[in-house]
C-alpha cells in the first residue's frame, strides 16, 4: 500500500489555500449577521438576524417564490418528458438509434448563448416572455442531458424482472410504475435535483425573459441590487445571497453519494 503522509510544508500550503478559498464566505457571514454592515471585514458590530428577516419578506420573498417556481417547474418537466422518452429509447430496437444518441450527446454541448436570439424571438412571438417561457426554454436545453442520463439508468434495470411481471399478467403501465420507476428512483432523484439546481442558478434566460419586476427570480434580483449605483446595503445583500445559495448547497450534500452519476451521463453506451 502506498500511504502518503503530507510533509509539513505541503500541509501548510494546503491549509493556506483552504483559508484563501473560504475567506470570502467568512466575510459573507460576518456581514449577513451584522445589522450595521458596511462591507468591511470586521467582527459584527451589532449582531442580529434583521438582515435575514428583511431578505425573506416583500420583494425578496416574491423573488424566492419565482425562483422556486422556475426551478421546480423545469425539473418536473425535464424528468416527466425525459422519462417518458427514455424508457422506449432504452427498450426499443429502432433503426438509427445510435445516430440519435450521438445527436443528443452533441446537443448536450449546445451553449444557451448560441440559440439565445431565436429563443427570445420565439418567446416574444408566442407571448411567453414570462416564467413559463423560462421553464420551457430551460427544459428544452436540459432535455438532451436528462434523456441520456435517464436512458442509462433504465438500461441498468434487469429485463428479466419485467419479463416475470409480464408472465404474471402485468400490463405495460403496471410494469413501468411497479418495477422500472421504483428501481430507478435514485436516478430520477438525481436528474430532478440536477435540473432543479441548474434552473435555480440560471441567470441569462430570466434576465432577457423577465419583462416586469414581479417576475424576477433571485438571480436577476440580486444582480439588479448590487449592480445599481449608489449606497450598497451589504447586510441585506449578504443575507439574501446566503438564502439564495442555500438550496443549491443543501441539494449537493443531500446527494453527495449519488453525484458521480453526473459524470457517467456524459458518455453513451450505445
Amino acid at each position: 500500500m502506498e500511504r502518503t503522509t503530507l510533509s509539513r510544508p505541503m500541509a501548510l500550503a494546503l491549509a493556506f489555500m483552504a483559508v484563501i478559498w473560504v475567506s470570502p464566505f467568512g466575510w459573507l457571514l460576518s456581514n449577513a449577521f451584522d445589522t450595521a454592515a458596511t462591507g468591511r471585514l470586521i467582527w459584527p458590530q451589532r449582531f442580529g438576524i434583521d438582515n435575514f428577516t428583511g431578505a425573506i419578506g416583500g420583494d425578496a420573498g416574491r423573488m424566492f417564490l419565482n425562483s422556486l417556481l422556475i426551478a421546480a417547474g423545469t425539473a418536473t418537466i425535464s424528468v416527466v418528458v425525459g422519462a417518458a422518452a427514455a424508457y422506449p429509447l432504452s427498450r426499443l430496437r429502432m433503426p438509427g438509434k445510435n445516430a440519435l444518441l450521438w445527436t443528443l450527446v452533441l446537443l448536450r454541448m449546445l451553449p444557451s448563448v448560441g440559440v439565445l436570439v431565436p429563443l427570445y424571438f420565439a418567446a416574444q412571438r408566442s407571448g411567453l416572455l414570462n416564467q413559463f417561457g423560462v421553464m420551457l426554454a430551460l427544459s428544452c436545453l436540459n432535455l438532451p442531458f436528462t434523456l441520456l442520463l435517464l436512458k442509462n439508468f433504465f438500461d441498468t434495470v434487469p429485463i428479466e424482472l419485467e419479463e416475470a411481471a409480464y408472465v404474471d399478467g402485468a400490463s405495460l403501465w403496471q410494469i413501468v410504475t411497479g418495477i422500472v420507476l421504483p428501481m430507478s428512483r435514485a436516478g430520477l432523484a438525481v436528474v430532478w435535483f440536477f435540473s432543479f439546481t441548474g434552473a435555480w442558478n440560471e441567470f441569462l434566460l430570466p434576465l432577457i425573459f423577465s419583462r416586469v419586476e414581479a417576475g424576477f427570480p433571485m438571480s436577476v434580483g440580486l444582480y439588479g441590487a448590487f449592480g445599481r449605483m449608489g449606497a450598497i446595503d451589504y447586510g441585506f445583500l449578504a443575507a439574501f445571497s446566503i438564502i439564495y445559495a442555500a438550496p443549491a448547497i443543501g441539494v449537493y450534500f443531500l446527494l453527495r453519494r449519488n453525484m458521480n452519476t453526473g459524470f457517467a451521463g456524459v458518455g453513451v453506451k450505445g
Binding site: L6, G39, L104, L116, Y166, F203, I249
Partner: protein, 296 residues
C-alpha cells in the same frame, strides 16, 4: 422493425411512440432554433423599431462585419485569454495538483479542502459575482488585509485589473469540477500497476509520467474539453461583475453577443456571432466525440 423479444413492448408500440412525442417536440425545437440562428444571421433583424417587423436579407454582410470591424476579433482574443488562464491553467492544473496531493492522505485534511473548494463551485453564479465584487472593491477583503495595513493606497482591483479579477474569480468558482474528475480518475488507477513499476525500479517521476499519466489520459482530455467549452460560453459571472468593462476589457464573446443583440438591438448581427460560437463549440465537440469513440 427488427425482431422484438419483449411482448409487453411490441404490443404497446403506439403507446410508447406517443410517450416519446413531447421529448421529440422539445429536441426538435432545439434543432429548429439552431437552424433559426443560421437564418437570422443573414438578415438585419432588430430587437425593436422598424427592423423588428420589416427586416430584409443582407446576405453575408453580418459575417463581413465579424472580420472587418474590430469588435468580434477583440472579443475572441479576450475569450481565448480568459479560457486559457482560468480554465486550462487555473482550474485544470490547480485541480490536478490538488487531486495528486490529496490522493491517499488522511481523510480529515482531504474532507476540509474538498468542502472548501466545493463551496465555491456550488454557489450560484450571481452570488459568486457579488462576493468577488465586494472582495476586490476599494473597502473589500483584499485591500483591508493586504494593501492598507502596509500603508499603501487602496486599489480598485475590479477597475484596474478587470480581466485578472474575473479570471481569478472563475478559477475560485470552477476548480472543484476538475478536482472531482481528477481524483476519481486517480483513484481508478490500479495500485498493483504502480507497485509493479516500483518493484521494477521506476522513480517517483517515472511512475507519474510513464505509468499514471497514460492511464488517466482520457480523463484529462474529457476534462479539458468540457471546461474549455463551458468557459468559452460562460456568461453570468463576468456580466454581473464588470458588464464587459471597463471599456471592452472583459467583453468575452458571450457578453459581446448579449450586448450586440439585447443592448444595441442588432439581432441579425448577434445571430452571426452565435453561429460563429456554435461552429467553434461544434468543432471542439467533434474532437471530443472522436476521443470517446477511440478504444482505450
Amino acid at each position: 422493425m427488427r425482431h422484438q423479444a419483449n411482448p409487453w413492448i411490441t404490443s404497446n408500440l403506439w403507446l410508447l411512440s406517443a410517450a416519446m412525442l413531447p421529448a421529440i417536440a422539445l429536441v426538435g425545437a432545439l434543432l429548429y432554433f439552431t437552424g433559426w440562428a443560421f437564418t437570422f444571421s443573414f438578415t438585419d433583424l432588430g430587437l425593436t423599431g422598424r427592423k423588428a417587423v420589416e427586416w430584409s436579407w443582407v446576405g453575408l454582410e453580418n459575417y463581413e462585419r465579424l472580420f472587418t470591424r474590430k469588435g468580434f476579433l477583440d472579443s475572441l482574443w479576450t475569450t481565448i485569454i480568459f479560457v486559457f488562464f482560468s480554465a486550462i491553467v487555473g482550474q485544470s492544473v490547480l485541480g490536478f495538483l490538488l487531486a495528486a496531493t490529496l490522493r491517499g492522505t488522511v481523510s480529515t485534511t482531504r474532507s476540509v479542502v474538498e468542502v472548501c473548494i466545493m463551496l465555491g463551485w456550488l454557489l450560484p453564479d450571481i452570488v459568486a459575482a457579488f462576493l468577488w465584487s465586494a472582495t476586490t472593491s476599494r473597502t473589500g477583503l483584499i485591500n483591508s488585509l493586504f494593501i492598507v495595513p502596509f500603508g499603501l493606497q487602496p486599489i480598485n482591483f475590479i477597475n484596474d485589473f478587470a480581466l485578472a479579477v474575473v479570471t481569478i474569480a472563475n478559477v475560485w468558482k470552477g476548480t472543484a469540477w476538475s478536482y472531482l474528475l481528477f481524483i476519481a480518475a486517480l483513484d481508478s488507477v490500479p495500485r498493483e500497476i504502480i507497485e509493479a513499476a516500483k518493484i521494477d525500479g521506476a522513480t517517483r517521476w517515472q511512475r507519474a509520467w510513464l505509468v499514471v499519466l497514460p492511464i488517466i489520459r482520457p480523463h484529462i482530455a474529457t476534462n479539458l474539453l468540457f471546461i474549455t467549452i463551458w468557459t468559452f460560453t460562460y456568461f453570468p459571472l463576468i456580466f454581473a461583475m464588470t458588464g464587459g468593462g471597463p471599456g471592452r476589457q472583459t467583453e468575452t464573446l458571450a457578453l459581446f453577443l448579449y450586448n450586440q443583440s439585447f443592448a444595441r438591438g442588432n439581432l441579425g448581427f448577434g445571430s452571426a456571432i452565435s453561429v460563429a460560437m456554435l461552429l467553434i463549440v461544434g468543432a471542439l465537440s467533434l474532437i471530443y466525440l472522436r476521443m470517446l469513440r477511440e478504444p482505450k
